[in-house]
Amino acid sequence: MVPDRKAIRVDLQLISDMIEPHSRVLDVGCGDGTLLDYLVHFRHVDGRGIELSTEGVKTSISAGLSVIQGDADTDLKDYPDDVFDYVVLSQTLQAMVQPRVVLENMLRISKHAIVSFPNFAHWRARLSLGVLGMMPVSKTLPHEWYETPNIHLCTIRDFVALCRDLDIVIESQKILDSDGRIRSVSSTLFSANLFGEQAVFLLRKKNG
């Protein structure tokens, strides 16, 4: 069953706060449907999900959520333009084969995109790589290099650059530090990139 609805993670809560009630939402990589279930029940959205794992799909559908088994790399292209208000990609961008194409597709099928990802330039990651000379392993990057599903890790600065390349407007961004605290919005890109362990971006098309 879907876990206690009140107990969603801070980053999921952040995403939820970015979503207008009664909107149309697609959660890509929805896992066991925790966020989707929360959005459907507390933000009253028309929610859909895509999930790769059989276990996640079974749990989600069994909880009454509309979820298809598939993945963002191959399944986003089927949706027509502008059918959603928000497409959410939570902690999954870095595991995509073609993150750039996925991002483009997200903003093709939806007015807004919400993307959260672990920041590879967080000071701990830098310390691990720069001083210890080893791939970082942390709460947000829990896998050893030989078993990680993360094939396209990026930093906050990288992501901002990609948005600029793709003519994507960053409507808002939230940074979580290693204690899971939301860092102030006034953070400069430099400090966000250094102290943010995860980032959540709310995006839209330039003329959307």
């Binding site: 859909r48 079974k58 089927d78």
Partner: protein
Amino acid sequence: MEISDFPVSYQAYGELNADKSNAILVCHALTGDQFVAEPHPLTGKEGWWEIMVGPGKAIDTGRYFVICVNILGGCMGTIGPKEINPETGTPWGLDFPVITIADMVRCQALVIDHLGIEKLFSVIGGSMGGMQVLEWASMYPDRLWTAIPIASAALHTAQNIAFHEVGRQAIMADPDWCGGDYLNQGKKPVKGLAVARMAAHITYLSDQALHRKFGRRLQERETFAYGFDADFQVESYLRHQGITFVDRFDANSYLYITRAMDYFDLAAKHGGELANAFKGSKVRFCVISFTGDWLYTTEGNRRIVHALNSVAANVSFAEIESDQGHDAFLLDEPDFERVLKGFLDGADEIRAVETGKE
């Protein structure tokens, strides 16, 4: 050709509620019939989906009114080639018109009309039953809340048609088929129909399932007989499947129904675009496939999902892990049951909210 004023047989389980909103239509597969959840009157075996349909089951007859109609062209009471043609007073045989999946669905809709049900809570079916589900959603989108096509396809592939053709040729090669006129000549093409069933039965099972069940084990003997008796258990099993099938199924029905499946191509009916069949649909879909099903593959089921996505329909899709082959939908698959039950329960909740608002 039109036929009118014809018999249709169906079975129903559970009770229809006062506002007739709790009805579920279960569509049976090629060799199924209306006896979903009770012993079969001819074979005495338990209903073909008792595992799923009954009090407290995934399709809960304590809660839903479950209807199953013997399909048009079938041989368990609904009009088909073995019934009497009122014009001639003899069985229809090959004079029976060729039918389509859409005809079967129109026939089911007549029963639903007869029961005074405006909108079904769900239409559910596996294999050919799933084709009917898709046709229902396409033809009568306002008459169902949810559609659950299981281990199904939106068209019959060349491979699907090829297997059916083997079966039909087996029947027609039997001298007792008599050019389709066997009922008038007091004969029955049992051998041909049995072979057709044997060939088809192989397609319902996976290699792993056959291996697990029989391997190369021998049938009631220690060594090969070096002849053409059923040395292997798998041979004996298939022969048994063939022989028992002829007791409950009509050979011409088998020809007509397999033909209807071969003709099925939902996209072709909608300008070559499957998505057009579901444009603007408010139906909630739940497509289910099985990993070990090589007859109606996950890939084929996924095409249905993609078409539904492309018109922004409300769709869920789960691929259930099973190595039992196509028949998995008829067998004990706990994950499948969980998804089906969860989807129905969830959809019922959502409908309650939606109709409460209206």
